[in-house]
């Protein structure tokens, strides 16, 4: 019934349609008015007062934090507040939980803020988190990210997502209304770091259960973050206004935040130039250099915890030979790639863990410490040992997503392979969805993808190559590697943990099913009158930290 009324409403909003006969007159008047009207000083479309407008690249798939939200994460971080949040340097800060403790790293107790409120005034309780996490794990909704709970070792999460245990068995409990307890399957010293993930944000039980299909609509939506949902017009905008019941309301300075889903970088840039937009999602590659010299203060391009990867399909010849894979990895001149091909602040990458997150030194024997000449010499030796030469070159195919920027990158890689080893590379560009499908089915020789670390721990990046994770597409399954990561998770001492991460990195680089090429930057334009903006290691930007100063 609700849905029907909603559709009906949308139709009557176009009241003029009823008078279709007057349309020609309407058009003539429209043209006349537009021709005569005085341009004036107040231009339409310009945000007013303390409204912040942010670019959001595409329409969010959903505003349910538990489901795969695609490009909706910024909106989720503004609307909901998890147990903890992430500071600009990636450190964990208290949010809905004001403190927490654990004696054995297996049972964690979180003490929630007594004054935290949902946007309808209800208190935020431990029960809310119990409900939200159970809902996330529930096998009824496999398109939610229940697997994330399993990957961070919450007790029974894996069996629950697989349908072998009921959600009530999940290792979460409300000790009292403001004490939330999590029990893990094994001790994990990095558990709290992983809690910044958006899937773990809480939802309001009464709303979700009361309106199962409509609870993410502005009319019903209830959230516990600094903002609440005011308007959602698909493919046009999502508008948030401050949550009047938010515990830190006095420090929220904006009147509203608007997210515009603009997929075209040029269109977004135009809106920014026209003043309709304050923070962009990205910068058109062709404009980057010019903007960096003309408006350096507005250009942001910090390194983020994401790595551009070349994946080698080790399941089939010729790339089932680890020495040949190494030759390919070594022959890429990453300095040339980052400074000449890309040149937007990217950094050469030699490990799965982004360099900005790594807190350990790589040994001198590791290939990252060699000079490029040395790498190329070894590459050529390994290539020849594998039975290839200039007379008998290796023929390869790289599959990559169909966009201009990607073409330049893989073209450069192919040229480097040609120069150093004489490899003949065929470049095949595919629509992203098709490429993902080919990757999933191991239907490729070499393919590109981006590795995102989702929380501030090397574990987040390294876990991608676990046997239970996506590693199997390239054939990487190594029980020693799995074991190392399990140990790292349990190591309470940071130095000891980092030593294990290093071993895992070294182990993976001996196999080289995939090679990191460079660390990505998160490029944005930010208007000078947006105050409180700071670059974030993981790319988290919370609107509650921002304000608009008079300009």
């Amino acid at each position: 019934m609700d849905r029907i009324t909603l559709i009906y409403r949308n139709f009557i909003r176009l009241g003029w349609l009823k008078d279709i006969r007057v349309l020609p007159a309407y058009v003539v008047i429209l043209l006349f008015v537009s021709a005569c009207s005085d341009p004036g000083t107040e231009r339409p479309g310009q945000p007013s007062g303390k409204q912040l407008v942010r670019g959001n690249s595409t329409e969010p798939n959903t505003l349910d934090p538990a489901a795969q939200p695609g490009q909706g994460v910024y909106i989720l971080w503004d609307m909901y507040e998890g147990l903890v949040q992430s500071g600009p340097d990636g450190s964990v800060q208290p949010a809905a939980a004001e403190r927490w403790e654990s004696e054995d790293f297996e049972v964690y107790t979180f003490h929630l803020r007594k004054n935290a409120r949902w946007s309808n005034g209800d208190p935020v309780t431990a029960e809310d988190f119990v409900y939200s996490w159970r809902r996330l794990a529930s096998p009824e909704s496999p398109d939610r990210q229940g697997w994330f709970l399993g990957s961070i070792k919450v007790k029974n999460a894996r069996q629950i997502t697989e349908g072998k245990l009921p959600p009530e068995q999940l290792g979460v409990a409300a000790l009292d209304s403001h004490t939330f307890q999590v029990t893990l399957e094994q001790p994990s010293a990095i558990f709290v770091d992983s809690l910044t993930h958006y899937a773990l944000l809480p939802v309001h039980r009464a709303t979700v259960e009361g309106h199962p299909d409509l609870w993410t609509r502005p009319r019903y939506h209830v959230s516990n973050g600094a903002f609440r949902l005011e308007e959602w017009s698909v493919n046009e905008r999502v508008m948030l206004v401050p949550n009047e019941h938010y515990w830190d309301r006095e420090n929220v300075h904006l009147d509203s935040v608007v997210f515009l889903p603009i997929s075209s970088l040029t269109a977004e840039f135009n809106r920014y130039r026209a003043g309709d937009l304050h923070i962009t999602q990205s910068i058109p590659p062709a404009q980057f250099d010019r903007l960096r010299t003309s408006v350096p203060a507005e250009v942001r391009a910090p390194l983020v915890t994401a790595t551009f990867m070349l994946d080698f399909n080790g399941k089939q010849p010729p790339l089932d030979d680890s020495n040949l894979r190494k030759a390919l990895a070594y022959a890429i001149d990453r300095d040339t790639m980052t400074s000449n091909v890309l040149g937007r602040g990217e950094r050469p990458a030699y490990t799965l863990t982004p360099a900005t997150m790594r807190a350990y030194e790589l040994p001198d024997s590791h290939w990252s410490q060699w000079s490029q000449q040395e790498r190329e010499r070894v590459a050529l030796r390994l290539y020849r040992e594998a039975g290839y030469s200039i007379a008998q070159p290796l023929k390869l195919e790289i599959k990559y997503p169909a966009d201009e920027a990607a073409r330049a990158k893989v073209g450069a890689i192919a040229a480097m392979w040609k120069r150093v080893l004489g490899i003949e590379t065929k470049l095949t560009h595919l629509e992203q969805n098709v490429l993902d499908d080919h990757l999933l089915r191991s239907n490729y020789q070499v393919a590109t993808w981006n590795l995102f670390a989702e929380f501030n721990e090397p574990y987040s990046a390294l876990s991608v190559m676990l046997s239970e994770s996506a590693g199997p597409v390239n054939g990487y399954r190594d029980s020693n590697y799995d074991q190392l990561l399990a140990q790292a998770m349990q190591a309470a001492d940071t130095t000891a943990r980092n030593a294990i991460y290093l071993q895992a990195e070294l182990r993976f680089s001996e196999d080289m099913r995939a090679t990191p090429v460079y660390q990505l930057t998160d490029r944005k334009l930010v208007k000078p009158f947006v105050s409180g903006y700071s670059d974030h290691l993981l790319g988290f930007i919370y609107s509650k930290d921002l304000s608009i100063i008079d300009h």
Binding site: V27, P39, G45
Partner: protein
């Protein structure tokens, strides 16, 4: 006439069914699925998701359940916009495209017909050459070139109009997209109109009218306009469907929440039910407008009668 309309409706059903069947299998055979994402998911999770939406069943079974859902008016859930159903999304996006499309249509037809007649009347004079030059320019310069230039001029330098957005279709927001979309369409109509008008003006009955001493205005409006409109009528039906179902390029550049965006996102993300829903809508509209054109012919052209 009534039996003609009835026959057209009955004919439309098998046509639509064939369209749905072809589209259903085509999109299913395209590689990828709505659930393949760049974020690497464990394969078991993906298998669970596919099972939930019945993608693990044989294709003919899925086809059957889609058709039976459709018979009850259910276009299914959207896989990309998970919080909405396809019907809901279309119900919000279609009025937007319709509003822009109708405006473009009316502007182009009025302006195009007028300019076409003018060019025909003053054939091979400076007026004709000017109108035709602009028409050709309007047709050949693509809208993805004109639209950014319009934005650059009117939004960024002059600051008269917004650089994009919709805002419930305020006229400032509609002006640039309508101009960008209408320029080619207007040129196209003007050219057709000029050609057919010149042809009509050389006919014997016009010569007779002139010989009888009728004023040019009467000749044009009473005698020449109707037959000259005929070639145009057959073009306008499909063209109408084209403009009201949204322009991918224009909607993308101006950030308009219309059907074009749904098309692109649906196709790129393999949103099966969305693609099918839109195909059905466009198919049905095409059939309907072709029928309307045929009926209109009966009124315009005395030689055509449906009995």
């Amino acid at each position: 006439m009534l039996s003609f309309i009835l026959r057209r409706i009955l004919e439309a059903i098998p046509t639509l069914l064939i369209l749905i069947t072809i589209s259903f299998f085509l999109i299913r055979f395209a590689p990828g699925s709505p659930f393949t994402t760049e974020r690497k998911m464990p394969p078991e999770v993906l298998a669970n998701i596919e099972a939930k939406y019945g993608f693990d069943k044989p294709l003919y079974e899925q086809y059957w359940s889609y058709i039976s859902g459709l018979a009850q008016g259910d276009l299914g859930p959207s896989f990309v916009y998970k919080d909405y159903s396809v019907s809901e999304l279309v119900a919000t996006a279609f009025p937007v495209s319709l509003k822009i499309g109708l405006t473009v249509f009316v502007v182009s037809v009025v302006l195009g017909v007028f300019l076409g007649i003018l060019a025909a009347l003053y054939q091979n004079t400076w007026a004709d050459y000017t109108i035709m030059s602009f028409s050709v320019a309007g047709i050949v310069i693509p809208s993805y070139v004109v639209a950014p230039l319009l934005i650059l001029l009117f939004a960024i330098y002059l600051k008269w109009l917004p650089a994009g957005g919709w805002n419930d279709g305020g006229w400032q927001y509609m002006l640039l997209p309508v101009v960008a979309m209408a320029k080619g369409f207007t040129g196209y109509i003007a050219r057709i109109m000029r050609g057919s008008m010149i042809e009509v003006l050389n006919q014997d009955f016009i010569r007779t009218a002139r010989a009888k001493g009728l004023p040019t205005r009467t000749i044009m409006l009473r005698h020449a306009l109707r037959p000259a409109m005929m070639p145009l009528a057959s073009v306008l039906g499909p063209a109408m469907v084209g403009v009201i179902t949204g322009s991918v390029v224009i909607e993308n550049i101006f950030g308009i929440p219309g059907m074009g965006q749904l098309f692109v996102n649906g196709a790129l993300n393999r949103d099966y039910s969305m693609v099918l829903g839109l195909t059905i809508l466009v198919g049905a509209l095409t059939i309907a407008f072709n029928a309307i054109v045929d009926i209109a012919y009966a009124y315009i052209d005395p030689k055509i009668r449906y009995s």
